[in-house]
Amino acid sequence: MPDRMETIIEVKDLKNAFGPQVVHEHLDLDVRRGEIIGVVGGSGSGKTVLMRSILGLQPFAAGEVSIFGEPVTGLAEKEELDIRRRFGVLFQNGALFSTLTVAENIQVPMREFFQMTPELMDEIAAYKIGLAGLEPSAGPKYPSELSGGMRKRAALARALALDPLLLFLDEPTAGLDPIGAAAFDQLILDLKRALGLTVFLITHDLDTLYTICDRVAVLADKRVLAVDTLEELQKIDHPWINEYFGGPRGRAALAASAPSPQGTG
């Protein structure tokens, strides 16, 4: 279907700089509807800055960024809210509200945007907690009482609260045990298949890349070096890409992924 390939996020000629230090220059990236796009790059290559620019949290020096066809900067308040409602964000450190319980955290976006009976909200929070792979006992706990991995899951549950069409995940599997990380990958795949989710995924986890990503964007030299499927990327001759996929970890992940069912776009 042609509208399947519709572009959801469009970044054109983006430039980001902190003082004299230029993070991005002439960066272009398109994310299509319904795909899981993985963003990889060395530490300090500006993956999180790119995500923050797309989210409109980071004023950028030059360029254009649009989500759902609307520019992220200079929108009227109502339009901005309308767009924000359609995506969920999982921040690197969770960014849960520390004065609310996990269940209340999940209900925050629902309370903010919709009229709902408290009963339904409680039910929704309960199944979101389960969906994110948390025990029911986590519901009445405060974020400071949770372990790092549980906090991450709680943050995912909040990101999923409004059943967004677009999900931003900043290193979702970092700090999870391998079993938990694999379950997380499977969860993202399931959600994507069921809800037609588009996912913008920043990760260092090669297994995640091989298991769930439809395309991978490589961030290097202050721009997006290439966006393609993993097989095509590995044919590119670039020192960073060679090292990344050809290194011991890259080879191990490739070997592990060979028999696994790849998610179809």
Binding site: S98, T99, Q107, G139
Partner: protein, 375 residues
Amino acid sequence: MAGVELQDSDDISGRTVTVAGRFTVRFADDYSPTFRKMEADPRPLTVDLTCLRRIDTVGAWVLHRLEQERGERGFETTLVGLEDGARAMMVQVGEACGDCRMHPEQSGRFLALLERVGRWISDGFKQLGAFLAFLGVTMLALGKVIARPRRLRGAAMFKQAEAVGVSSLGIIGLMSFLVGIVIAQQGAVQLRQFGAEVFVINLVGRLTFRELGVLMTAIMVAGRSGSAFAAQIGSMKLAEEIDAMRTIGMPPIEVLVVPRLLAAVIAMPLLAFYGSIMAILGGMFISWLSLGIPPATFIMRIQEVVPITDLWVGLIKAPVFGLIIAVTGCFQGMQVSGNAEEVGRRTTAAVVQAIFLVIVLDAFFAVFFTWLGWV
């Protein structure tokens, strides 16, 4: 955007509900209550979902709830035209939903009240104990630093002294000047009744050196720096920076508390003296304007009527107040745990307790100096 439409129809074989549109979180309030009611309807129910445009997990949850609740009561439910994806989603949310509470357990009203009173009292005792312990640890660290001055973080101390002292010169000067004006003005109005306006000089000179100069300065320092200490250390505590220091082998008391404490102890007497001088300048200014006492006479009289012990009284109190402010600020900062709200609560507590303790101590000092004969 069109919402969701429900059509209800009855025939012999049972009730049929046709759903069209978006079965999503956005319109949940339009369909969820209706579906809730349908759970108790004993007639065989058919839900026709052929015209569904979109369904998300909330819609799937509502369908799952309907099917499950009716199943438990033994009522018949058929879902028509349900896509495989939506069916999978229903199964998924059904499995995911556990028996989950939203808030921590709370006891009944009377018990909660008792619990609150009890917690208040026990927290009070715990706080007192923790404060004494903190004071002890701080004094120990201070002793170590004095025994081995090389362990003193000199740069940190001077940075803090600058923040406590130099940066507050403007506000403390202005405030003291205005207080001096007010005392002289009000004093003059009262003393004029006895024709004793010239005693305004005694009033301003003795009051500012003994009491007001140091007290107003202490209150301002508690508000400016005591709060800053609590907030800085509290945020560091939340971000696990204090724990990081411990593991690296930097004792947080020595690194964070001692420099702040010394900075406050050094800065307070300087500030108090400066504040007193500014207050006297204020008094001198208003005496000149409204009483016609020339500044030269004012200064000469001040030297005559203010005994040197008044200056000592102020200068002895000042470092003690500085110590109290720094210790309460740092103590409250170190007590922060859990969440961001706590930082605010502890910062407030630091300022309130510091000012309270300063005033209580001031009363004790008044008795003490009278007893010494420094009146």
